[in-house]
Symmetry: C2
Subunit: 339 residues, 2 copies
């Protein structure tokens, strides 16, 4: 079984996206948001079958851990109520995808974060998604300002309420920013990478997992700059009098395989223990084109993993076992189905 | 001949650093800065011989392109005048190092940047350093706010005055931020990497080199996250309707070898053309310890380059020819000495 840990609903039905525009416009003009539109099952089925499900099948994977479009989370837009309504709408849509395609998708939620608002206020939506809709994890945005980074690092105690609830619910978080509204940072070319690198270094500087030994984070996009600079991070841990990275972080931090060329994937697997790598493609996401050098999609990361000299047991680990270990609710769901 | 393109005077004499503290304290209390202290040649010689020069010799390199300590540039501290006095003091000290050790060091300046102040105001100091002290390049800070990123991207026309003068003087810039005053970003573990990645992506999004075909940038720390994610950047160029990276950027953008483990260096050389790689170690810089896995200094990047299967001609290119091509004033200086 091949599980892709990183997929976003980037092809959501048009009425959903139009409603978001209307919601923001209403907020900006001080009016109440319009009612959320009716979206038929057929509309959802069409957007999924033509896109993510088609590619999942073409590429030979079985299931995607599926969450709302990351660039559209936009916690910085509007206010807390705007973020909450939007998050509920996005998560509900993921819930419907999962209900329609339970064999191919399982849900991860976005949180109704809002700059300056306590993360406590996101717990209710997390619980709703996990306990009522069977979601198995969450996307945690380390910078809800959209590129201004005026909040506190992930190791700050202000984040602890969500970590406490994550541990109780036994759900991991993918650390994932949304679109950048800072002109310095292209969203998928700079902001995403920077957030990944930044999150890892925050965790390295702190001792968060001493307080939460069961907490688990997936740092996407192959860990940003981290594996390429693994020597730097090992050296910084040493300079900062931290334990070696293996002890300090790597029981709790995992990287996906969203690295869009063979040499990058090679390095990831050479440097990072197999236990810490989860197959992911970010499909359909940041880079949707075909690589003229290979004739394949840039984000068809399965080809790169398949090209590695892994034993069948190692392949299973990266494609399935690690995801089931990091997302125990996914494992329980699959086990209950005899998978 | 082996030229290290990336060294900072991180061991400057104590009176220099104490003066900086006094300068900032005076500014904060609204008083005039004290006079800059007398620093003897012997004091400078001691700090260099015991540190950078010792390591240069031990590691078998010949010359370092030497600039003021990056983390101490701090353009965000004080105001424009504070930045200007400090930059002059730092650059003068580099000038003295170069005068004392002309065979081993050649100068690169910091600029008296200040948040919100036109880059035009930095041109005079650049000219002073290049034309009066024989410096061969500059460090250009893409975020003089120290981690708040409220300025304009490097492709913005507000930067053009410095580019015009760089082209006239035929000097390249290393893109290098200073210390972070944003708690989210550890300086050497996140902010430096992020700035490198960000700068590359800004250049990818823009068309700066259409306006300045002769402009040259060194992106340090092995290019941040870029080589590891080379497929992503090739794909983003395609999505943004830009020419292939080789045409779009790689006549003008160069990476150093400040990547502190063998596998990272392997990837850099596998992915990036040899013409675009300059040997550098950032010595003595971000990571000063010894890697327990190898028994060697993390930042002894020459060992990693030496371990590559390069022909003698290729080694010369990375160790010397590329630096002489990118820094023509270095080449002229060496040629004048028969080197």
């Amino acid at each position: 079984m091949i599980i892709d840990c990183h997929g976003h609903y980037t092809t959501a039905p048009e009425p959903h996206t139009r409603w978001r525009q209307a919601q923001v416009a209403a907020f900006n003009s001080g009016e109440p948001a319009p009612d959320y539109p009716n979206i038929s099952d057929d509309q959802i089925i069409e957007t999924i079958e033509k896109n993510q499900l088609r590619l999942l099948r073409e590429r030979g994977a079985d299931m995607t851990i599926f969450s709302p479009r990351a660039s559209a989370m936009e916690p910085h837009v509007g206010n807390e109520q705007v973020s909450e309504s939007w998050s509920r709408a996005c998560n509900d849509l993921i819930g419907r995808v999962v209900s329609l395609f339970p064999d191919s998708f399982i849900g991860v939620c976005q949180l109704p974060q809002s700059p300056g608002v306590s993360i406590k206020n996101s717990i209710e939506e997390l619980e709703r998604c996990v306990l009522e809709m069977g979601f198995v994890g969450l996307n945690l945005n380390p910078d809800p300002t959209g590129g201004w980074w005026t909040g506190a690092p992930l190791t700050d105690h202000s984040w602890y309420p969500i970590y406490e609830r994550m541990v109780e619910l036994d759900v991991p978080a993918m650390i994932h920013v949304s679109a950048s509204c800072n002109d310095n940072f292209h969203s998928t070319g700079a902001y995403y990478m920077n957030a990944d690198t930044t999150a890892f270094m925050q965790l390295l500087q702190g001792d968060l997992f001493a307080d939460f030994p069961e907490l688990r984070f997936i740092i996407p996009h192959g860990g940003g700059a981290v594996p390429y600079h693994w020597g730097r991070y090992r050296g910084l841990a040493d300079m900062l009098d931290k334990p070696p990275l293996a002890e300090h972080l790597m029981d709790n931090v995992f990287f996906d395989t969203c690295v869009y060329h063979q040499r990058g994937i090679d390095l990831l697997f050479d440097v990072i223990n197999l236990e810490n790598i989860l197959f992911g493609s970010e499909m359909m996401g940041a880079v949707r084109g075909i690589d003229p050098e290979t004739g394949n999609y840039f984000d068809d990361t399965k080809r790169f993993v398949d090209a590695l000299a892994l034993t069948p047991a190692q392949r299973d680990q990266v494609y399935s076992h690690n995801a089931r270990r990091v997302y125990p609710r996914l494992d329980a769901s699959l086990t209950a189905r005899g998978l």
